[in-house]
Amino acid sequence: MIAAFFERLNETQGLNFSVFYDAFDASRFLTGLWTTSYICVVSILASLALGLAGVWVAGGGSRLGRLVVRGYVQFFRNTPPLVQLSFFYFAVGGLLPRVSDGFGGLSPPVSGTGWAIIAFSLFAGAFNVEIFRAGIEAVPATTVEAAESLGYTRLQLYIHVVLPLAFRICLPALNNNLVNLVKTTTLAYAIGVPELLYAASQIWSESFNVREMMNVLLVTYVLLVGVLVLVMGRWEKAMRIPGYTT
């Protein structure tokens, strides 16, 4: 029924929403949506892990470790993500030796999607380090001291006392950063990863329906971000510490 409606819309009004009635375009669009979601989920998880690792090293005793984390954060925060992605994909990826792909040919060891995930994880991870640091700093010193006096080791202290509190404090900022990460995934278009924007551009260059596809694309991204915001908002509410935050 939906397909019939959009087909008629195309015939009568000339509004060609081919993704809604053409099976081939629909499958391409869905593949793009799948790739985007895949990049998002993997990068979100990897960037969270990087953020935690970074903040762990930054809080540790090693002076060198602290400097390295600081340099990493400043570097990734103050350079354009698109140039970072190009650097990884063209420069680093281009210099890596080819490996046999099992079909008798040679292929790069890391695919475009792989480089996109690496670049976005490093980019968002740099922000996550700062976010977690702010969250950990906001944990009351008395709480930490109390746990210390009870003989917690540093790792136990982190797992049982600091992180559960810090995590709740930094959820809103984390939320923002993850939304930003979802929006950053469109940059993968520049290195030819078949994500949402790429799929849409393929469709509009064949069907000449730039205007319609552009709007479908915008609405899709706003929905995608909307879902993330909704889920994170629910989670934020569920994890709220009574009487702790406004």
Binding site: F75, A91, R154
Partner: protein, 275 residues
């Protein structure tokens, strides 16, 4: 030893020393990386070819010009985005419900859409020229790019303005009302001057983000720093130069954006009103 991450003890404002040292350190690490990659390029180069340094020096001025074009684009989009964004932000706290709600909806829409998609939007859907009363106004690609980048900037400025206005205690509004100021007078003479100060740090932050986002215009075919870097690499076809070339471009952006980030932090600290 038990060493949880602790906030450093509140220190006196350290002036310029710390940020300069920190930036210098990162920059030095950067330079070492750059030098190492250049040396590597030099070693791995074909013996007959030019030295990597010569090639790099030949292209550096052109890449720098491209980078300056990025800066120019960032100024213009920021100016356009700020003007539109301030209007939208003030509309977001308007008492007229339809105006307030539509400003909110537009702000949320453009804030949540990816920058690259909005850039495509402007590039493909704006005409390349306008005709008004027989007068033809050309609309070249770079102007469209400025508009495309200004869209998300405007939405973010709108949120900054709304947040700034909301951060002023309601007592200010009430006392202004008690002194028989009209709403417009209250806004222009009492609320905005106070809110302005608090909006500067996030506004600067947004500017740094925009500057980094200007490289997106290379995706839609405008000759910016990134496009020129790629063209240079294609022209030389020396794969060992790729890492130093890209690092050079990253270095330019870092040298420009890092001071802005530090200044933002310093201002934030200065304007921070501890309750």
């Amino acid at each position: 030893m038990l060493l949880p991450y602790r906030a450093p003890a509140p220190s006196a404002p350290s002036g310029l020393a710390t940020p300069v040292l920190l930036g210098g350190g990162t920059l030095a690490a950067f330079a070492i990386l750059f030098g190492a990659s250049l040396a590597l390029a030099q070693v791995t180069a074909r013996p007959a070819g030019e030295s990597a340094v010569t090639v790099l020096l030949r292209w550096a001025p052109l890449i720098f010009q491209g980078f300056l074009f990025n800066i120019l684009i960032s100024f213009l989009s920021m100016a356009l985005g700020t003007v539109v964004g301030v209007l939208a932000g003030v509309a977001q706290v308007s008492l007229v419900a339809p105006l307030r709600k539509s400003a909110w909806a537009v702000t949320q829409f453009f804030r949540n859409a990816p920058w690259l998609v909005l850039l495509f939007y402007a590039m493909f859907l704006l005409p390349f020229e306008f005709r008004i009363f027989g007068l033809t106004i050309a609309f070249p690609a770079w102007v469209k790019a400025i508009i495309g980048l200004a869209l998300p900037v405007a939405a973010n400025v709108s949120e900054i303005v709304r947040g700034g206005i909301r951060s002023i205690p309601s007592g200010q509004w009430e006392s202004a009302e008690a002194l028989a100021f009209t709403r417009r007078q209250t806004m222009w003479m009492i609320i905005l001057p106070q809110a302005f100060k608090r909006m500067i740090p996030p506004w600067m932050n947004l500017y740094a983000i925009l500057t980094m986002a200007t490289t997106l215009i290379s995706v839609v075919g405008i000759q910016d720093g990134l496009t020129i870097t790629r063209a240079a690499l294609v022209a030389e076809s020396r794969p060992e130069l790729m890492i130093p070339m890209y690092l050079l471009l990253l270095l330019m952006f870092f040298a420009y954006c890092y001071p802005i980030a530090r200044a933002t932090l310093a201002l934030e600290r200065r304007f921070n009103v501890k309750a």
